[in-house]
């Protein structure tokens, strides 16, 4: 479960002064649900997800992730999340097995439990042939499968995906989305940011349209579609962003 309450983040820039990146956003994401943050580049998606992953501290407001406050109990939060960003990479000089062992240990898994967990992940993530290969020698698709395996190695309750398909071809992207849906089926809480409408339509149960750090619209596909009557998420998105800009 993720409960976000009035979350804000302001960055200080020497030339520009205080620059608000996220302005007072609130939403809830339940177990067994994929919550989509849909927005353009620079809309505030990454900053929001980084705050939920406790990589950044909020300037105001707070959130509870897996029942723990991100400000009060960041270590407890990190123990229960898996975080993947499309920009993040893996260590080229490690093999797949070494990488999963490393992140399993960082997550606090018992060393003796890690090999069995890697075995369990091998089939669903098609890791055969990757475990003893160095990351640097893997294809982009292989790396992305390993990245997701890395995120779930400790079987976290909450998964935070920040544009995980960025840079992938259509096959790689479909593979990633299938894995995300599988996590949802297994009752995990998934928050997923993207700027690709079809992705959001395909996997998100609830979507928040975010622009310039604020949530402009939020709801299920049906409720969002009913809002403008077109049924197309792209239309809803464009209308919402245009409206948001006009309001400013």
């Amino acid at each position: 479960m993720i409960e976000v309450q009035g979350l804000r983040k302001t960055f200080h820039d020497r030339k520009k002064g205080d620059v608000p990146a996220v302005k007072d956003i609130s939403f809830t994401c339940r177990p067994g649900q994929v919550f989509g943050l849909l927005g353009r580049n620079g809309a505030g998606k990454t900053t929001t997800l980084r705050m939920l992953a406790t990589i950044l501290s909020p300037s105001a407001g707070t959130a509870k992730v897996a029942g723990f406050d991100i400000i009060q109990k960041p270590a407890e939060v990190r123990r229960r999340i898996g975080y993947l960003s499309g920009d993040t990479k893996l260590y080229d000089r490690l093999t797949g097995r070494e990488l999963l062992t490393y992140f399993g240990t960082l997550a606090g898994m018992e060393p003796s439990a890690i090999p069995a967990r890697i075995d369990a992940l091998t089939k669903p993530f098609a890791l055969d042939g990757l475990l003893d290969k160095r990351v640097g020698k893997m294809s982009t698709g292989m790396k992305q499968r390993l990245s997701i395996a890395r995120v779930v190695v400790h079987d976290p309750e909450v998964l935070i995906f920040d544009e995980p398909t960025s840079g992938l071809d259509v096959f790689g992207a479909r593979e990633v989305l299938a894995l995300v849906l599988d996590l949802k089926k297994r009752g995990r809480t998934v928050i997923f940011s993207t700027h690709i409408m079809t992705e959001a339509e395909r996997i998100c149960d609830e979507i928040a349209i975010i622009e310039k750090g604020s949530i402009l619209k939020q709801g299920t596909l049906a409720t969002l579609g009913a809002g403008n009557g077109s049924g197309s998420l792209e239309d809803v998105f464009v209308e919402a962003v245009k409206g948001g800009l006009d309001d400013r």
Binding site: R78, Y91, A107, P111, R150
Partner: protein, 397 residues
């Protein structure tokens, strides 16, 4: 020490050991480059010696007619052509000689009156050929002095035909072992500091700024490991790399000066007996540890602060140069070093190690050096953790 810290340590070590640049710096460099450099030095030196013996030089003698014995002695030196001058040339360079022996005017009168006589051999240290000429003329100059002494004795009524057989000779009676010990005391502390700094640089920047540049930083920041666990794991890996660098560096030197130099003709002149007892080696290692932790932590802190590998390497180079400078400063210290110098980081370690190697350790010096280095190492780790916990530093662009 937590399992997570050890995991970071292991991961960074694996990463380091699979990096060709680090392998080259830590393992290949000391065992190939040092012997190669030593062979080159030996070759150049022997060539220089041969050339120094072979080349012909012109030596001017001003007032040669007053004292023909001077010309005879100088002309007897191999490869020397005497150029007599009645009076001093306007400038040294105008004389077109490699050295100029100046006899004072009225030499005979001065001797007869018992005045002090000063004969000058003018040469240029800045000119290799001139400097070599002066060295070559040294025995001849002794003979000129003896001949002048004889003249003086005769003028005082002595009945002598040859100078008295009185000689004071300088003779270095140091054994190879003693010479090796002296050079070890001077060089090893400096080299250890230099090698620790060099060994730490690459790993520290790779483990910190490298995470930013390769976009792997967020993966560990979002993990359950605390910032302190991550930083300490990284400092430990940097420390391991730096100490390995120091050990392989010393082994490379021992291999070059102690083994290869003794067996290869071209390197014979460099052969030294660099024997340091195991107890002293252990003490050197223990005294090096706080300084190595300090250097590792400072480089990790720099890596956390730097925005890019390039920026990190630039800052790290300053730390490296400062370490080398402080290590070098230990060369110039006299035997009695004031206590306050044992509070200066890096320098204190080099000075204490020199005391260990020369059996002159003072308890106050050891406490000051190890205590202050340990304190600084701890402080630097705290700073590194703070920097690694500061999102404005980690994500600054």
């Amino acid at each position: 020490m937590t399992g997570r810290t050890m995991a970071v340590f292991r991961k960074e070590l694996i990463d380091t050991l699979r990096d060709g640049r680090t392998i080259f710096a830590i393992f290949v460099f000391p065992f190939l480059l040092y012997p190669a450099l030593l062979m080159l030095m030996g070759y150049i030196q022997s060539k220089n010696d041969e050339e120094a013996k072979a080349f012909s030089v012109r030596v001017g003698i001003v007032g040669a007619a007053q004292f023909p014995a001077a010309s005879e002695k100088v002309a007897a030196v191999e490869g020397v052509t005497v150029v007599p001058f009645d009076q001093e040339p306007a400038t040294y360079d105008a004389a077109d000689v490699q050295a100029l022996l100046v006899l004072p005017p009225d030499l005979a009168g001065m001797i007869a009156r018992g005045d002090s006589v000063k004969v000058e051999l003018r040469y240029k240290d800045a000119d290799n050929k001139s400097s070599e000429t002066a060295k070559r003329l040294k025995p001849a100059m002794d003979e000129v002095r003896q001949a002048l002494t004889l003249e003086w004795a005769k003028s005082r009524g002595a009945n002598a035909t040859a100078p008295p057989a009185l000689t004071v000779e300088r003779k270095d009676i140091s054994s190879k072992k003693e010479l090796g010990g002296y050079i070890a005391a001077l060089l090893i502390p400096y080299l250890l500091i230099f090698m620790v700094a060099a060994g730490a640089m690459q790993t520290a920047i790779d483990a910190t700024t490298g995470e930013k540049e390769r976009s792997t930083l967020e993966t560990i920041l979002a993990s359950a490991a605390t910032r302190a666990e991550l930083v300490i794991g990284k400092v430990m890996a940097v420390l391991a790399a730096s100490l390995t660098g120091a050990v392989t560096g010393i082994l490379g030197l021992w291999l070059s000066f102690g083994v290869l130099a003794a067996h290869l003709t071209v390197m014979k002149s460099q052969a030294l007996e660099l024997s340091v007892s195991p107890e002293k080696m252990l003490l050197l290692f223990l005294t090096l540890l706080p300084a190595a932790i300090f250097l590792s932590a400072i480089l990790v802190a720099i890596g956390c602060f730097a925005r890019s590998m390039r920026e990190g390497q630039t800052y790290a180079t300053y730390v490296y140069m400062a370490s080398v400078f402080l290590g070098l400063s230990s060369f110039t210290q006299s035997e009695s070093v004031p206590l306050k110098q044992f509070f200066v980081p890096i320098l204190n370690t080099a000075l204490l190690q020199r005391e260990i190697l020369t059996d002159t350790v003072q308890a106050s010096h050891a406490f000051a050096a190890i205590g202050s280095s340990s304190l600084l190492a701890a402080l630097m780790i705290v700073i590194a953790v703070r920097l690694f916990s500061n999102e404005q530093v980690l994500f600054r662009t």
